[in-house]
Subunit: 238 residues, 2 copies
């Protein structure tokens, strides 16, 4: 299947590598491919320059956002929460009629903080929107012809693409969205990733709870002594 991944950060790379390993044709989108490939310094999360990473992943194509979106039959949004709505809106016509899976947390980036990103307690980034709206819903409103599904957001993407690496895969992944077919497509992808317990929370308004879980996720990671990410999952026991 042709799958577009928009974004080149650590989370996006996890999906790109996994999708390629599963035999999919992966089209990666970035704002400016030449600029992305010209970078020689690690990104703000400490990831290696994308061009260097890409050299180890032959067969993965890099495009401007719009070209990648146009090529994907299914699209994964890996653009960070601050920039997602604007970047996706600019290529809305290329996303029409498709499923877009969004996993971004709408953190407000504050460059005045010493450690603005990710969440060290005490100087943690706030969210916007939060509580009465969600990034997932904002994206859906900006892309009315696209079926937006919120998923993946409750874990680190390295564990999303490799659920078996945590407790043998015995944990729970969530999906929410207003389109049943799009949620089925997302669940199929998760099943291919190795997920056995995918819980459909219902309509996209549930993205609020999924995004707002980010602070508890961070707290659990710190509580486990696993700073900056964490290698764990949560399982709904019923």
């Amino acid at each position: 299947m042709k799958i577009a991944v928009l974004g080149t950060g650590g989370g996006a790379r996890a999906h790109i590598a996994k999708l390629a390993a599963l035999g999919h044709e992966v089209h990666v989108g970035t704002r400016d491919p030449q600029a992305t490939l010209a970078r020689t310094a690690p990104d703000m999360m400490g990831n290696a320059p994308f061009g260097q990473w890409l050299a180890d992943h032959p067969g993965v194509a890099l495009h401007p956002f719009g070209d990648a979106a146009a090529r994907g039959e299914l699209v994964i949004n890996g653009i960070d929460g601050r920039n997602a709505v604007a970047a996706l809106s600019a290529v809305a016509d290329r996303l029409a009629g498709k499923t877009l899976i969004d996993y971004a947390v709408p953190y407000r980036y504050d460059p005045d903080l010493e450690h603005p990103w990710p969440t060290p307690w005490g100087v943690m980034p706030a969210m916007e929107p939060v509580d009465t709206d969600s990034l997932g819903e904002q994206i859906q409103r900006a892309l009315p012809a696209t079926a937006v599904v919120k998923s993946f957001v409750t874990q680190e993407q390295t564990t999303v693409v490799d659920p078996a690496s945590v407790a043998g895969g015995d944990h729970t992944m969530f999906v929410a969205g207003d389109d049943a077919d799009a949620k089925r497509q997302t669940t199929d992808l998760l099943t291919a990733y190795g997920w056995r317990d995918v819980l459909d929370l219902g309509p996209l308004v549930c993205a609020r709870g999924m995004e707002m879980y980010a602070h508890l996720h961070s707290a659990i990671g710190f509580g486990l002594g696993q700073q900056f990410g964490g290698h764990f999952g949560i399982k709904v026991m019923r």
Copy 2:
């Protein structure tokens, strides 16, 4: 042990009954005991009038908030999120030097909504504070001489006092607070309730994530078809 439970709602009743069953001397606080006992209609959550409930729980004493707080060696806050800071501030001197366990979610009650409480998706109550502050931290600031611990808030209180009723007790409870002794006291109580996995998230700022989890908790309940509460827990798989 003498334990005060402030509040007479469904959550408070779960703790009162459990603590009494465990052999503790339970002192219940309410704003106006005579008014509480005079009520003959169910409360807004559909709970039976408290006087009727109390008649089935001999040995449990009802007092004004301040008298109950004064009698408790350990205090549990079961006052709803809208009223907790004001009600607790009014009896701050009675809470000085003690541990106060808070499990309230700071929902904004909007009487104009058809179903203002609890959270039916689409007309869900928003939280205040949220994201950059928490009710737990507000209470701590209002009661600087009290050691506030946030706990219990990530589940229905009926399952908090009876963890074995969900998956044989195989799920996770969280504590957060700035005082190690107070968290130890809380964990001891949870152990007496039957909890085997109590995760210390760290300082009280983590109450933000615990309170904000309320929306995901509600969504999971709805996803499981368990409206208005839900009989499940989450387990941190690591």
